[in-house]
């Protein structure tokens, strides 16, 4: 009996031993703590086994990273290399703007963040196989920002073909943008380079520099590393000359020969670069050639990084809240037309848009960042200019798979039908009203010169008004940006319209649809209520008013006196 118990114990022990052995082989460095942190904070997105398939992953785009393939976007390392531990620590600490990856600086201690770095590395064997630390991109020799540098960078932006994906002025609207997929087959969009705050790895010049030299692994964005850089191995002058020659319709024999020499020089330099990459032997002279070539690549890369940096404002514009309300400016006479330069004198207010996630169908992965608005008014009319970025121009020629409805880009501007009296009075529900109705201007890309007036008592309860007012509308789509101009009378006959008075604070909100992102019906991006006001008439008018009022009151006074006097005489 006793012997049997011992045997059984042995058996149990044996099984346990085997299990723990198996476990140790799978995850040698990972500590229990790292696993715990991961399973508590990361697994619902990244999956228990690190495959990016956690329970929350379904609705997210970009998808939470699958850690089993060793593909990391934000690295300080060269093309094809794994990130350093510090890279992983930093991205976990800071999060990835423009995606659902949160920052963990506040929620996790420094120690826990390091533990979880060790743990996520166990999902990919490549981290174990690489004894050598990954090679980092050198930031030495940074060329500081200057207009000259930006100009050189601008040429490279076109010559290297960034423009194919990122578009003419960088709004992520290149002609290849609509067909891009990531390494897992999911749709992905090129970054809008004018919105640095949406960059996963940060908007600093150094960040930008590292991103295009090292590439963004797992995404379609190529690595513009040494040997694939434009005319690798040629000096800047030689490179210029070669481009000049290449652009000729026909080359003379001498020119053929000249370009042939350039190609020979490039081939030799590329050969050295590849030999180094393959771990082959190279002579000291060859290393010198390689270093010289790389020096030029890095110089050009700094110019390019400076150019990209020049495309974005210094920081994300402040949302229009607090004192930052949208103030329509008074002008005398005609309101500025769509393309009037007067609009440039007005600083736009910025309204950030977020995905609508209250009502089905929802938008978890919005592509429109925000809308910039300006406004002018005169004695009878008000004009607005709405500007927003959208990578594609979608005009209802595609349809939504589930609803069969046409997909198209659109914007709606929302006001209450009745302006709440005072700041504490209730506003209509921000999602297109409810018990209190809202009044909307609905513009669609397929009818670019028209706005439909709607009245709504809820987002699924909107109707076009029977009487459509006389709104003047003009719009344009260029280089990934919409501009919409709308002009309306301050006062209308229609009771369902909003009536505008000077100095009255009016709630205003926006909804936008990006057709190519599947936005349709309630799947949209929107803002909650902000405030708009016809800024009371400035000084010149104040000058007219007081004397006028004075005159009137004097007149009244005289009138009153006359009246009293008459009464008195009549009584007499």
């Amino acid at each position: 009996m006793r012997i049997r118990t011992i045997a059984l114990l042995f058996l149990l022990f044996g099984i346990l031993a085997v299990f723990s052995l198996a476990y140790a082989q799978n995850a040698p460095e990972a500590s229990e703590r790292g696993k715990e942190v991961y399973e508590n904070s990361c697994a619902h997105c990244h999956g228990v086994e690190g495959r990016g398939d956690g329970s929350a992953a379904e609705n997210l785009l970009p998808k939470p990273r699958d850690f089993t393939r060793g593909l990391y976007k934000i690295r300080s390392t060269e093309a094809g290399q794994l990130p350093t531990d510090q890279d992983l620590f930093d991205i976990i600490t800071e999060g990835m703007p423009g995606s659902s990856m949160p920052e963990w600086e506040t929620a996790l201690s420094t120690n826990d963040r390091w533990e979880v770095v060790a743990y996520i590395k166990t999902f990919y064997d490549g981290f174990k196989e690489n004894e050598n630390p990954p090679k980092q991109i050198t930031l030495e020799g940074k060329i500081s920002y200057s207009p000259e540098s930006v100009d050189i960078g601008k040429e490279l932006y076109v010559e290297l073909g960034c423009v194919e994906c990122h578009g003419n002025v960088g709004r992520g609207d290149g002609t290849s943008a609509p067909t891009l997929t990531d390494s897992w087959g999911f749709q992905t969009w090129p970054a809008n380079l004018t919105q640095g705050w949406t960059f996963r790895g940060g908007p600093d010049t150094e960040d930008i520099f590292k991103r295009f030299i090292g590439g963004i692994a797992g995404s379609p964005m190529p690595a513009f590393e040494g040997d694939s850089f434009l005319n690798f191995g040629l000096t800047s002058e030689e490179s210029k000359r070669l481009i000049e020659l290449e652009n000729k319709d026909e080359m003379t024999e001498a020119e053929e020969e000249e370009s042939g020499k350039f190609y020979e020089k490039m081939d030799a330099a590329v050969d050295i670069a590849l030999t180094i990459k393959e771990g082959g032997e190279v002579s000291a002279a060859e290393i010198q050639t390689y270093n010289d070539a790389m020096k030029i690549v890095y110089e050009k890369s700094w110019h390019l990084a400076n150019y990209v940096k020049s495309l974005m404002p210094e920081k994300q514009p402040e949302p229009a809240i607090g004192n930052n309300v949208l103030r329509s400016q008074y002008v005398q006479g005609e309101l500025p037309d769509f393309d009037d330069p007067t609009w440039e004198t007005f600083k736009a207010r910025y309204f950030p848009l977020v995905g609508q996630v209250v009502i089905e169908p929802r938008q978890f992965n919005p592509t429109i960042d925000g809308v910039h608005v300006k406004s002018f008014y005169n004695d009878t009319e008000v004009a607005f200019l709405f500007v927003w970025d959208d990578r594609t121009h979608t005009t209802a020629d595609e349809t939504d798979e589930t609803t069969g409805k046409p997909l198209e880009d659109a914007l709606a501007v929302q006001f209450p039908v009745k302006v709440p009296q005072g700041p504490t009075a209730p506003k209509p529900y921000f999602l297109w009203g409810g018990r209190l109705p809202v009044y909307l201007w609905h513009w669609k890309a397929s009818m670019p010169e028209q706005v439909t007036e709607l009245t709504a008592k809820g987002i699924n309860n909107a109707e076009a008004q029977e009487v459509q007012g006389e709104l003047e509308v003009k719009s344009d789509y260029t280089d990934g940006q919409y501009k919409l101009w709308v002009k309306r009378a301050l006062k209308t006959e229609d009771k369902k319209d909003l009536q505008l008075d000077t100095g009255v604070f009016v709630p205003i909100a926006f909804s936008a649809w990006d057709g190519s992102n599947g936005d349709v019906d309630t799947k949209l991006t929107m803002t909650s209520w902000y405030t708009f006001v016809l800024e009371p008439v400035p000084s010149s008018r104040r000058f007219i008013y007081p004397p006028l009022i004075a005159l009137l009151s004097i007149g009244l006074l005289f009138g009153l006196r006359a009246f009293v006097q008459r009464r008195n005489t009549e009584e007499v």
């Binding site: 042995f10 390494s183 690595a223 513009f224 070669l242 590849l274």
Partner: protein, 263 residues
Amino acid sequence: MKTYLLASLTLLLACCYVGIVGITFAADSDAGEMEMLIFPENYKPMPVSNGGTISGVVKFEGDKPEMKVLEITKDPKVCGATEKYDESVVIGEDNALKNTIVYLIDITEGKDFDKEAKLEIDQKECKFTPHVQIVPVGQRLTMLNNDRVNHNVHIFSIINTPVNKQQTKTRKKMPLAGVKKAEGPVAVKCDIHGWMSAWIAYVPHPYFAVTNEKGEFTLEDVPAGKYKLGYWHETCGTNNESPAEVTVEAGGTVTQEFTLKLK
């Protein structure tokens, strides 16, 4: 004493059992994703004299899928000069199946690579040619750009380092560094022209062939012996589960036919 023996035996058995289960699980999770080529662990090049030849034809069976015309969404002047088709299944006359890799699975000794052979994939009119390319481990593949538009060469390696490099319009030839390990086939794409698609197999020995438009393949200079003959096709899959068995005689020729269906 007897009981002790029994106990240790049970223990041993239990260990084996757990071990086996562990292994099966591991194997399960690795397979099932994409069907790959099978490579020998080691391969030793040696001179082959009086080797035999394996040749044959690969045919398609079943309803022929229609050749899809590709939608040219970019650079229409260059890319859309002629109509292009999706090449994931290319069926010629007599049901000949093009672009099938036929190869020896278990060869460990045989001829060396032909080091002079040109290893190129051309990008012309925004299409990769050939659609399936065999590349020896360690050798450089040269990408040609005959289009005067920008392409990016994106190779989705998993075992080797993935590659994604821009080949700008003036860059007529772009050699790529040799890879370290046998792998594949791996997909090749140009993200700029999203429809462009090709496959590369990084191989450790030279007994690989890709079928032509007549579905034909030939493996030459095979040392006499018995071999497993495998195939891989992008849409029709592999015969990894039950490869064909062929016996090659010195100086002789064996033929083998394969009939593939859609998966």
